[in-house]
């Protein structure tokens, strides 16, 4: 199989609603996928030989789920094949070619003398009968899931030419039983962990670019205050000025944040160093200026403002200056988010009374409405810019949804027993 051909095939796909998969793992988040590429690449992920860790989920199950969720792969059933190779030398290619697999992954998990695990995996081109790639990981036993996501990323990257995001994490707010919790989970919704919980609202979580901490807004002191918290639990006040302190957004290099302060007046955009020093006012208006977000090159801060009457998106130099209006279509555009590849701007548009995720191509100016809800908010790009995660409402409660940047693949993440909202997709970790 030729990688170039497959990449071309992905770009040439036509929308198809044929795929509708839902699965529930042991986790709190349930994922439902709809849509998908019409020309999905058929792949076989052979169950890994993992006798020593038979109590844990097979790596192949996790990898298969990741690849399915991307909408770009048709993961084949392997149950009908008698021989399950765990090494590329054992593959009887004719059997897998008969299944129409174009690529296949095999692997093995072994226990090392120090009780760590050795995970070996290989990816083969079934038609050419050659190895495409192979990796070996020596890991602690509790890193099996994380390793499976890394393997899925390797397969995704090898077969599509784009960076995979399965090993990244997401943050979101769960509200249940009157309590608010900031949680982080794997990108597949597994391993949800509570970072902080409070009986007062928590909003606007934002990952630092290195993924080591989150900034967020907590109302625990009867007003919005911005905190920064490391994943290991060290919690610092970033901004507690008179009035509101909200909407934190990290600069791409992590050295400072754009924030919104009010003092005794309307919301205005400021920048502040990550250690809380060096406060600088960026916008100076009597209108609302809020929801700052940095451009990928750090030159601009995009924000929403009602300075022209209805809320629209503007940009201002990240060192201050005269803002320029960015959106002209639609009467209400807020919540700008810059794509990591710098090519597009996501926002929430009031589309005839329905608040939906819209994506503006920065080169052409063209806007596409991507979501279908009526109260969608908080768009957040996957680190490879291909997927947008956002908050929506399902049956009267908050849920998360994701849509591919081309609008073709849609997913919903639902956590039973609570409202979930305010998603933020974390960076790729090396």
């Amino acid at each position: 199989m030729n990688r170039q051909i497959f990449k071309h095939a992905i770009r040439g796909v036509v929308f198809s609603a044929s795929l509708c998969i839902s699965f529930i793992a042991n986790a709190a988040l349930e994922i439902e996928i709809s849509g998908g590429s019409a020309q999905q690449l058929p792949v076989a992920i052979v169950p890994f030989a993992q006798v020593a860790t038979a109590d844990q989920e097979n790596i192949s199950t996790i990898v298969s789920a990741d690849l399915r969720r991307s909408g770009l792969f048709r993961v084949l059933e392997t149950g009908g094949v008698v021989n399950h190779p765990s090494d590329i030398m054992q593959i009887k290619y004719a059997e897998w070619a008969a299944l129409q697999a174009q690529a296949m992954a095999v692997g093995v998990v072994e226990t090392l003398p120090d009780n760590r695990l050795k995970v070996t995996f290989q990816l083969a081109d079934v038609l050419k009968q050659t190895q495409l790639t192979g990796m070996q990981y020596n890991i602690a036993p509790n890193q099996l899931r994380a390793t499976a996501h890394k393997i899925a990323d390797v397969i995704y990257q090898k077969l599509t030419g784009e960076v995979g995001i399965f090993a990244s994490r997401i943050a979101y707010i769960n509200k249940s039983n009157g309590r608010y919790a900031l949680r982080i989970a794997d990108a597949d919704g597994e391993n949800p962990l509570t970072m902080v919980s409070s009986k007062e609202p928590i909003i606007s979580p934002a990952w630092s670019p290195d993924g080591s901490k989150l900034a967020y807004v907590s109302f625990e002191k009867k007003k919005p205050i911005i905190f920064v918290q490391t994943l290991s639990g060290q919690r610092t006040v970033l901004a507690n000025f008179k009035g509101n302190n909200s909407a934190p957004s990290w600069a791409p290099d992590g050295s400072k944040l754009a924030i919104v302060l009010t003092y005794g007046a309307n919301s205005q955009v400021y920048t502040i160093n990550a250690d809380g020093s060096g406060l600088q006012q960026i916008t100076k208006s009597s209108a609302i200026d809020t929801e700052p977000t940095w451009s990928t090159d750090a030159k601009w801060i995009y924000f929403s403002s009602d300075r022209g009457g209805k809320p629209q998106i503007y940009k201002v130099s990240s060192s201050g200056g005269e803002p320029q209006r960015v959106t002209f279509e639609g009467a209400y555009n807020v919540s700008p988010r810059f794509s990591p590849d710098g090519k597009s701007l996501a926002m929430i548009r009031n589309d005839g009374g329905k608040f939906r995720v819209a994506l503006q191509n920065l080169a052409s100016g063209q806007v596409q409405i991507l979501s279908e809800g009526s109260q969608d908010e908080s768009p957040s790009f996957a680190p490879n810019s291909r997927i947008l995660l956002y908050a929506t409402r399902v049956g009267g409660h908050g849920a998360l949804a994701a849509v591919s940047a081309d609008g073709r693949v849609k997913q919903r993440l639902n956590e039973s027993g609570g409202d979930i909202r305010e998603p933020a997709w974390g960076p790729l970790l090396n």
Binding site: L193, L231, G264, I272, L429
Partner: protein, 192 residues
């Protein structure tokens, strides 16, 4: 007081607030607070399989506040107009309606008489729109009430305007009567 004097006062007040606040900008490191409802999910879960980065344990922090002091409080006497604390707004409006004037005047009088008393004006919105934008809209309303108090002679140092946006809104309002209750400013005295 003519308008330009008022503006100057407001601006110098703002500048002062800015200066004072700037002094506070060094971050305060809270000790990792005592964990109250530590769930089993907070056990060490390394995030990354192969690199040394980010394998630190995720620890939950609990931040519940303290119960407020009890005792008789005239501000909470139901027979006193000072116990009235909610100012309601029309849709997409920050105009303070005439019906709330007696209540605002009573609070202004109390604040002028009790120079050490401080109020926090908490703005709120209904659920329509995004959370951060609504936070700013709620702020617009609390600023409108602050201006009313200022015009009645209350000093800036006694007023803090904040917003809860839509966070305190009754969720999934079915009708306007419900949504209307969410569009309000609450007057809260410090240490209540």
């Amino acid at each position: 007081m003519n308008k330009s004097t008022w503006n100057t006062k407001l601006l110098s007040g703002l500048a002062l607030a800015l200066l004072l606040s700037a002094c506070k900008s060094t971050p305060m490191v809270d000790k990792p607070a005592s964990v109250v409802d530590k769930s089993p999910a907070t056990a060490t879960k390394p995030a990354d399989a192969t690199s040394g980065a980010d394998t630190s344990a995720v620890k939950e922090v609990s931040i519940d506040g303290h119960a407020s002091a009890s005792g008789y409080n005239p501000l909470k006497d139901p027979s006193n107009i000072l116990s009235k604390r909610n100012i309601y707004f029309d849709f997409d409006s920050d105009a303070v309606k005439a019906e709330f004037r007696p209540m605002i005047e009573a609070h202004a009088k109390y604040l002028i008489t009790n120079g050490n008393a401080k109020v926090i004006l908490q703005g709120n919105t209904d659920e329509r729109g995004t959370r951060e934008y609504n936070l700013s809209l709620g702020q617009r309303r609390s600023v409108a009430v602050k201006k009313s108090l200022n015009l009645l002679g209350v000093q800036d140092k006694q007023i803090e305007t904040v917003s809860f946006g839509e966070e305190k809104a009754t969720e999934a309002c079915a009708d306007e009567a419900c949504a209307k209750m969410n569009r309000r400013v609450d007057i809260v005295y410090e240490n209540e």
